[in-house]
Amino acid sequence: MAVTASSGTTQTPSTATVSRRGASVRRLLTTHGGSLSRRGFSLLFFLCLWQILSVLKVNFIINFQFVPAPTAVFSAFISFVQANPWIHLQSSIFRVICGFTAGSILGIAIGLLIGSSHLVEELLATPLELLRPIPAVAWIPLAILMFPNAEIGMFYITFVGAFYPILVSTQKSVESSLSDLLMIRVGQCLGASYFQLFRDIIIPSSLPGISAGLVIGMGNAWFCLVTAEIIAGKYGIGYKTWESYVISEYPPIVMGMILIGLLGAFSSQMILFTTNKMMPWRQISKGTL
């Protein structure tokens, strides 16, 4: 079986070193300084497992026969880097930034309006809700037909990915801020106008929710990139991934997947970092409760 085969090869403690190893493993699992090494260790373990499964071409429920090993993916990465990678990265990053920016501006603006006004909710919520479950891939034909060129079609598909999580989380957090009677009464007693209440109380108290929407939206924009770049025709990491699949060249597919994963994770972290800077007042007690 796949799992037993791997654990047999990666963990082979000899009896003489068992107690010492036991102590260091315990340190790795418990100390705070071990946090980084724990993360590194899990990544290494995962890569080793993958290498073994693909080298052995394990075929039990999941078929690893055609899955390129990490080493093959790495060489695909080297040849990608040597052959002008910037043009692909540039196109993809630009598309994601455009889609995400448009998605956050519209998502936050419409979310604020729907969350705070019954009238706007009645006017906009139904069509938006009906369009929401449509997956990005289903938009491809229309995106080709609706927009003057492929580039704008691709913006649109990444935009759709970013827009909805931002819209929904903004709307929901505004609604919950509005239901916080105490905070609103505080403002009213001090004579705040509706605009001032909105600016100084509703929006700040909705920020954590909006921030979560932005992080998910950024992830989703990358998520939809491969779909969008199916219509690219020339450049882009998603396009590269799709093209490699069409010509049955497997290592670059995985390389493209990993690149998208890395870029997506990195940009989500950037959003998280930036929005956290905007909320120095938050008190997060994770694991100390």
Binding site: M183, R185, V186, C189, S205, W281
Partner: protein
């Protein structure tokens, strides 16, 4: 002297037409400028409801409430409010919280800063001006809420069990601090509490409220000499008033027991 606060024939109902229930019945009360009035009573007597109606958070079905001859219809800066707890805005530092009412009025940054510093100094929080609320103790947060409500010079300060959530030692300090500020600023205070000692220590008049439906049962004048401090609670006069108030409230809590 004209009344600062006038409550006449106020009734309030909660619930829809099936569950409709009277929580305040025909409440009449007149408060003089500079007076310290405590609303006291068992839970369910409508004391917080009455305070919320004065603040304009809720509208009574009938009757009239006016502050300084202005009919109350919605919340406004002429009535400062101190909530029970955690009412400082978490995303503002202490000085931003305290100065928020002035910012709304459009005062210049420098004026706001001077006034905020003056009021923070009054409650001994000047050293914490840049702290966020979650970095302050419950007692400090309440002191901040009090000066936030006072800084805009309201006609009346409405306080809803403001010291109910702090420990006994801190409560005494806060009570003495409030008495000091009240004497210095000369503001009218309506203070809701269920703590008899607190009411006797603070008030010029104690309004005891009764249940089923909420109404004003009896009003006691507290002639205990000022300035008062925690030491005043050991005076015979203090105990004598406390006993009379206690008996009055007792009749109401007994009613609740029978109703259960």
């Amino acid at each position: 002297m004209s009344n600062l606060l006038e409550i006449s024939q106020v009734s309030k109902y909660f619930g829809d037409k099936h569950t409709r229930r009277c929580v305040l019945s025909n409440v009449n009360l007149r408060v003089q400028p500079g007076e310290f009035v405590c609303l006291l009573g068992p839970s369910g007597c409508g004391k917080s409801t009455l305070l919320n109606a004065i603040a304009g958070f809720i509208k009574p079905e009938s009757g009239l409430i006016s502050v300084n001859d202005q009919r109350v219809s919605k919340p406004g800066p002429d009535r400062g409010f101190v909530f029970q707890k955690n009412s400082l805005l978490p995303w503002m530092t202490l000085d931003q919280n305290v100065g928020y009412g002035l910012k709304i009025q459009g005062l210049s940054k420098e004026k706001i800063r001077n006034r905020v510093d003056h009021f923070l100094d009054l409650v001994g929080l000047l050293g914490y001006r840049k702290s966020f609320p979650h970095e302050l103790s419950g007692g400090m947060q309440q002191r901040g809420s009090i000066v936030r409500a006072l800084i805009t010079n309201p006609k009346v300060l409405l306080m809803d069990e403001p010291f109910g959530a702090v420990d006994a030692q801190t409560r005494i300090i806060l009570q003495e601090m409030l008495l000091g500020i009240w004497a210095q600023v000369g503001i009218t205070i309506i203070f809701v509490t269920h703590d008899i000692d607190e009411a006797v220590l603070l008030a010029d008049r104690i309004v005891v409220m009764g249940v089923n439906p909420g109404h004003i049962k009896e009003i006691f004048d507290v002639s205990l000499k000022r300035p008062r401090s925690a030491d005043s609670t050991f005076l015979d006069e203090f105990r004598e008033i406390k006993l009379r108030v206690l008996r009055s409230i007792r009749e109401e809590t007994d009613k609740l027991m029978i109703a259960v």
